[in-house]
């Protein structure tokens, strides 16, 4: 392994860690944010009492509640019911949480960053340049992708992990030796298998539109412009697919209006009824991680991921309005080569920020949905899944084919008419 590869591998490890840390903290905050948002929707105040005493009591609207909750959960009794299948009962929450995290490996959170390492004279690099003079540092130009693993079947990987998530639920429900848990598990399995097909089919349109199943490629191609001004985001090219994907995603993460596996008013807590303490915490936490996952996938596949409209690493471009600013041609940038790298770095940071904003927006939307829409009945869910969403997903594929063909046929003519 060359030095380049080693460094790149280390960077991938760093991204894996960063993605884990970011998702875990966002999911942690969501446990509080969800209750707070629910209370605001219902004209209440919500949890605001947990405080941390530094100089005086800090409450910050109750943002320390996740810490208090986690601490409480960890110190509670770890209860395994009589007649339960011990090791399965133990392994179910671990599987549930682990798989939810693993799916984030393929989510890119910023655009590729190229550092023209070779162009920088060694003497101008602080500290390292002094320690290693000459060309030791200058192995090659870096292109860093902000993604733990750039799989070329990224979408399939996420779908597979989503499919495996059923196992955690199923094992938890079946091994608890409790009727309500069992019912919850049966409902979960039935519902998740019913919607898996439609979930996959709704994404076929996206894959066809962007010509790749690799998530990083899909995000990159969403930066193209339609008619020279409209960003080619998934929501614009595939609006039906987005609605179907979102519905199936809600189903996959077992949230309202499809939360019959939990169904508080019917089967108490469903599949994790017999869990307490840290294991319950893991099940609960995995639900919020799945929530972030659905938010991230919606952002990546349908809302351009890290794309900032009209702005990218090259410059600002709107062909229809004949606006074209290229960073490399700016006077200020031409004066020193490091300034281009600085701009690239800033753009990458902005892209990561934009991606985070999109994910947070979707988390907000999902929480709002939970506190707005009532739960579907079991037969309604089945009817919606098999008789509405599945045919619509298939029709969407046909529609996509027609649109792609039309676009190929008329794009040159349109470009000539609009004059760019």
């Amino acid at each position: 392994m060359s030095l380049d590869e080693l460094v790149l591998t280390l960077i991938q490890c760093l991204w894996a860690f960063l993605a884990f840390a970011g998702v875990a903290s966002l999911a942690g905050i969501l446990t509080w944010a969800e209750r707070k948002q629910a209370s605001l929707i219902q004209d209440r105040i919500g949890p605001n009492r947990a405080n941390v005493r530094i100089i005086r009591n800090w409450r910050l609207f109750g943002i320390f509640h996740p810490i208090a909750d986690a601490t409480k959960m960890l110190f509670k009794e770890d209860f395994i019911p009589e007649g339960a299948w011990r090791w399965m009962h133990t392994i179910a929450p671990i599987l549930s949480l682990g798989l939810a995290f693993v799916a984030f490996a393929v989510v890119p959170f910023a655009g590729p960053l190229t550092i023209h390492w070779k162009d920088i004279p060694a003497e101008s690099i602080p500290l390292l340049g002094r320690l290693f003079p000459g060309d030791v540092l200058h192995f090659s130009n870096f292109t860093i992708t902000f993604q733990a693993s750039d799989l070329n079947v990224g979408i399939l990987f996420v779908l597979a992990m989503g499919g495996l998530l059923v196992y955690g639920v199923m094992m938890g429900g079946f091994s608890s030796n409790n009727k309500w848990s069992f019912l919850g598990a049966v409902r979960a399995v039935n519902q998740m298998f019913s919607y898996e097909v439609a979930l996959g089919l709704s994404l076929v349109g996206v894959v066809m539109m962007y010509g790749s199943a690799s998530i990083s490629t899909i995000v990159e191609r969403q930066g193209d412009l339609w008619l020279g001004i409209i960003p080619k985001w998934g929501i614009i090219t595939q609006p039906i697919a987005f609605i179907l994907f979102f519905a199936c995603g809600l189903m996959e993460i077992k949230r309202t209006p499809f939360d019959i596996p939990e169904g508080e008013s019917e089967i108490i807590a469903g599949y994790f009824l017999e869990y307490s303490g840290a294991k319950f915490l893991m099940f609960m936490f995995s639900e919020y991680v799945e929530l972030v996952l659905l938010g991230a996938m919606s952002a990546v596949l349908f809302f351009g991921g890290w794309q900032i409209p009209w702005v990218d690493a090259e410059g600002v471009r709107i062909p229809l309005l004949h606006l074209n600013i290229v960073w490399a041609n700016l006077e200020w940038v031409k004066q020193a080569s490091w300034r281009m790298d600085l701009i690239n770095l800033l753009i990458v940071l902005a892209q990561a920020g934009f991606f985070a904003l999109k994910v947070i927006f979707f988390c907000w939307l999902l929480v709002t949905i939970r506190w707005t829409w009532p739960r579907f009945r079991y037969d309604q869910i089945m009817r919606l899944g098999w008789k509405r969403i599945l045919p619509l997903a298939m029709a969407n594929i046909v529609l996509t084919v027609i649109i792609i063909l039309l676009e190929q046929r008329f794009k040159p003519a349109l470009e000539r008419i609009l004059g760019y």
């Binding site: 605001l40 929707i41 219902q42 004209d43 209440r44 105040i45 609207f61 709002t368 707005t372």
Partner: protein, 163 residues
């Protein structure tokens, strides 16, 4: 029997109605969210009605009858002249006064040696304060936290009242 009207096609499309629901909840959320931000709360009135009691208090009218108190004169002595008006008018008989004789040369000839109000029996009707001829007994402390940890403390003595 009222017959249920069939839904219109617009409602049966389902998605627009779901979206309408989202608009309602989001409006509540946004109004309350920005209403909580200090500074913005003057522009946007939040719909949350909760008063966070120990930190926030509701406004209490000046006429509101709280715990009793006894006025003092300018020289610091208690204004009460032990005329027994309050004890007489009290419907629940919770005021117990023992009068004492003032020393020679004092302005008033009587003063209360003991002035006790039993809060267990008091109904906070305010008649005592109204009956008082010499402006001594008042109920304007706005004190509503009357809980105590032992029964003896519920009998207000002279010291409690002039505090």
């Amino acid at each position: 029997m009222a017959r249920k009207k069939p839904h219109s096609n617009w409602v049966r499309l389902y998605l627009p109605e779901l979206f309408r629901g989202l608009v309602v909840t989001s409006r509540h959320f946004l109004v309350n969210f920005f209403g909580f931000i200090p500074g913005l709360d003057r522009v946007i009135k939040k719909e949350v009605q909760t008063i966070q009691y120990p930190e926030e208090r509701r406004w209490i009218s000046e006429r509101w009858r709280g715990r009793h108190r006894l006025n003092r004169r300018e020289d610091g002595s208690v204004k009460c002249v032990a005329c027994f008006c309050c004890a007489t008018v009290c419907p629940s008989g919770c005021i117990h006064i023992e009068a004492g004789e003032s020393p020679e040369g004092a302005e008033k000839e009587k003063y209360p040696e003991k002035f006790e109000i039993n809060l267990f029996e008091c109904v906070f009707c305010g008649l005592c304060a109204e009956a008082c001829p010499c402006d001594a007994l008042y109920m304007d402390t706005q004190e509503m936290k009357l809980a105590q940890d032992s029964p003896e403390k519920f009998i207000l003595t002279l010291e409690d009242l002039v505090k």
